[in-house]
């Protein structure tokens, strides 16, 4: 556990430590409760849910709901399950995150190491982008996408997510690079290194931690987006829209176990990203993004 190397310096007594552990565990339970409920109920047959205890473990364990949610649940008129939508989401998320991260890194680099008059205003305006409510851009965005011929397509969705993700990635990289000694960049410039050479040789090698933060943030936001997906997805709707179609179906018997299995499936990629990269997340935040 790397962070523990740091000595907290504060010494605590036995009672205080017990108290701390109790509080931490109680909160762990609070955070785990919804996931536990979803998981347990996704492994039960429907009858056990409708007249049983939500918190109880399944009496008859079954993976059938998972199979159904993935490959045979009715989504629209086709019993395709969530599988094809999963692919749509991946096709959308990967390029969008890649493009946005690269642009964010370059922007951050320019705004800290190649400053010019007015760079602060530009950064301020970019930052405000992160905070606008997305509903207001829906109608004008639709017009623009239509004009560009990108309406109802994955490239259109990628464009939308890039546009509204750049603010975040620029913020992260800018704050991170701001802490990086400018003298090193100056020295390289005097040695004759150009813009891109400095970026690739000097900035990029140290950008690991903040890239993790940026990628996690963008990946989760874009993967979980519903509004843009439903409005601009056209025939390539992402996973969230399909999940909503599954869960909100207007009539018929509600198959809660399938819904919960589908919900976990929809959340799986982001969960994996958090669990795999989560340990770097705090380190990445520490490395600069929070020093605002």
């Amino acid at each position: 556990m790397a962070p523990a190397q740091q000595d907290t310096a504060v010494h605590t007594g036995r009672i205080a430590r017990t108290f701390i552990y109790v509080v931490l565990l109680v909160f762990a339970l609070f955070y785990l409760l919804p996931f536990f409920v979803m998981l347990v109920n996704s492994l039960k047959p429907l009858s056990e849910i409708t007249d049983g205890n939500m918190m109880a473990l399944p009496r008859a364990w079954t993976l059938e709901p998972w199979r159904q949610a993935w490959s045979s649940a009715q989504i629209g008129v086709q019993p395709t399950g969530l599988k094809p939508y999963f692919v749509n989401s991946l096709l959308m998320v990967v390029p969008a995150v890649a493009i946005t991260t690269v642009l964010g890194a370059l922007n951050g680099y320019v705004l800290t190491k190649w400053t010019f008059p007015g760079h602060r205003i530009i950064f301020g305006l970019l930052l405000f982008t992160c905070f606008i409510p997305f509903q207001i851009v829906l109608i004008p965005m639709a017009t623009v996408l239509g004009k560009l011929g990108l309406a109802g397509s994955i490239p259109g969705l990628i464009l939308v997510h890039c546009v509204y993700g750049i603010g975040f990635s620029t913020l992260y990289y800018r704050n991170y690079y701001a802490a990086f000694p400018t003298e090193l960049v100056r020295a390289a410039m005097i040695d004759g290194a150009g813009f891109f050479r400095i970026f690739f040789r000097i900035m990029l090698p140290v950008s690991g931690p903040i890239t993790v933060v940026s990628v996690i943030w963008l990946f989760t936001n874009i993967w979980n987006d519903f509004l843009f997906g439903a409005s601009f997805g056209g025939q390539s709707q992402p996973m969230t829209v399909a999940l909503n179609n599954l869960v909100q179906s207007s009539t018929g018997v509600k198959e809660y176990n399938v819904h919960f299995a589908g919900a976990i499936l929809a959340a799986l990629p982001t969960l994996v990203v958090y669990i795999v990269a989560g340990r770097y997340f705090v380190r990445g935040l520490m490395a600069g993004s929070v020093k605002g």
Binding site: V77, L138, A142
Partner: protein, 417 residues
């Protein structure tokens, strides 16, 4: 010069060919029928079209009784990429037609004689400026009561004929420890009940004056206060856990015998049938007591959006024709719980509740007591409908007294106009 010209024509030909291929034989359908039964019924339509070599591109967007789908639609229309056909209710069709974005189905309507077989009340929504713009799929009605027969037998209750009998029956169920009225607390469900209650208070004349013509005297008058009083009475027979409950869970309460009655449109029947219940034997269907003879209807329609090239228009016309075919009408409506949107369909494949519905629809249409459902956008435009929702829901949740609610209804409607 010649070379360039050659290239341009070649390009144009390729373009024409590709766009032709992409659109000529496909219809893109935006809808929110995503649950098992409805989707299965819709896939009948899909297969019918496929036999005519028309491809079906599915665009389901579920949620909020079509609210999410309408947002999607707006984005699609603004981007100049409208789907071929969109599931739509009532005044929404008229609103979209007024924006000038709908197509024209007159040719196919004339060829197949729609004017003669589609009830006039429906035509009021499927036609704009005298032109057919939408193909009606079905007719639902909202003033139905669903009852568990075993529960009624156990309590010794007959099918209630009047409002007073209905209240007594609810009371009997409550006394026996059951939930009198199964209900889900969502604004549209309360508005659905309100349809039936207003009809039970003042019949179709009052309903029309208040909810369709928006006459301020009717909206704020004695009869409206009485309607809200009745809503309050119904509220007292609903269990405490009703808020936010989906309507089909409320139906399940009746099916399982936990509750005696539910006031809901005839789509509720699907839930009973799916649970293996037989109409007339296991459950009863009757009009909201006091509203007999009147029918508050709603009709799911496919609004047809204007298409660019002729091939797309042809595919669209074929789709409209397939929707109106008696085979599809029977196949779809037997599953959905509704009745066909044309009057010349054989009633024998339908169950007793649907037959009753078809009969009453024809009779009400004849006698002029067929009114558009307020709760489902067939009485007024969306702004007014939602303003009414606000008041009905607020009253049902205890924010207003009946008198205040009637006053507030007048204000809200005025503000929304």
């Amino acid at each position: 010069m010649r070379n360039t010209f050659g290239k341009t024509t070649a390009m144009a030909a390729v373009l024409a060919a590709t766009t032709g291929m992409a659109q000529a034989e496909d219809v893109e359908v935006l809808h929110w029928w995503t649950s098992g039964g409805e989707a299965a019924a819709l896939s009948v339509l899909k297969q019918n079209l496929e036999t005519e070599e028309i491809g079906w591109i599915d665009m389901p967007v579920a949620g909020g009784g079509g609210e999410a789908a309408m947002t999607t639609l707006r984005a699609r229309v603004t981007s100049g990429d409208a789907p071929t056909a969109v599931q739509m209710l009532g005044f929404d069709i008229q609103d979209w037609a007024a924006e000038g974005v709908l197509g024209n189905l007159n040719d196919v309507a004339e060829a197949e004689g729609w004017d003669a077989v589609v009830p006039e009340a429906l035509q009021a929504f499927s036609k704009y400026d005298g032109n057919w713009v939408a193909a009606p799929v079905n007719v639902h009605s909202s003033n139905w009561v669903w009852a568990n027969k075993a529960v009624l037998d156990e309590l010794g209750i007959e099918e209630p004929k009047t409002w007073e009998e209905f209240v007594a029956a609810l009371q009997a169920a409550k006394d026996a420890g059951k939930t009198g009225l199964a209900h889900g607390g969502q604004p549209w469900q309360e508005a659905t009940i309100f349809d039936g209650v207003v009809l039970s208070v003042g019949g179709p004349e009052f309903y029309r004056a208040a909810l369709i013509d928006l006459d301020a005297e009717a909206l704020g008058g004695e009869q409206m206060v009485e309607a809200f009083n009745r809503m309050g009475t119904l509220r007292s027979f609903v269990d405490d856990n009703f808020s936010g409950r989906d309507w089909n869970l409320a139906s399940a309460m009746v099916i399982n015998g936990d509750a005696a009655f539910q006031i809901m449109g005839d789509w509720a029947k699907g839930e009973f049938v799916n649970a293996g219940k037989v109409p007339g034997e296991d459950f009863l269907c009757f009009r909201v007591p006091g509203s007999d003879g009147a029918v508050s209807f709603l009709s799911d329609q496919f609004a047809m959006f204007a298409q660019g090239d002729d091939a797309a228009k042809e595919a669209q016309a074929k789709m409209a024709s397939a929707i109106m075919s008696p085979e599809f009408q029977i196949a779809f409506n037997t599953v959905k719980g509704s009745v066909p949107s044309r009057t010349d369909v054989d009633a024998s494949p339908f169950d007793s509740c649907a037959q009753k519905g078809m009969e009453q629809l024809a009779a009400a249409s004849e006698s002029g007591s067929l009114v558009g459902s307020m709760g489902h956008g067939h009485a007024n435009r969306a702004a007014v409908k939602n303003a009414m929702y606000d008041v009905i829901t607020a009253h049902f949740n205890g924010e207003f007294t009946a008198e205040e609610a009637a006053d507030e209804l007048v204000n809200a409607v005025e503000a929304a106009q």
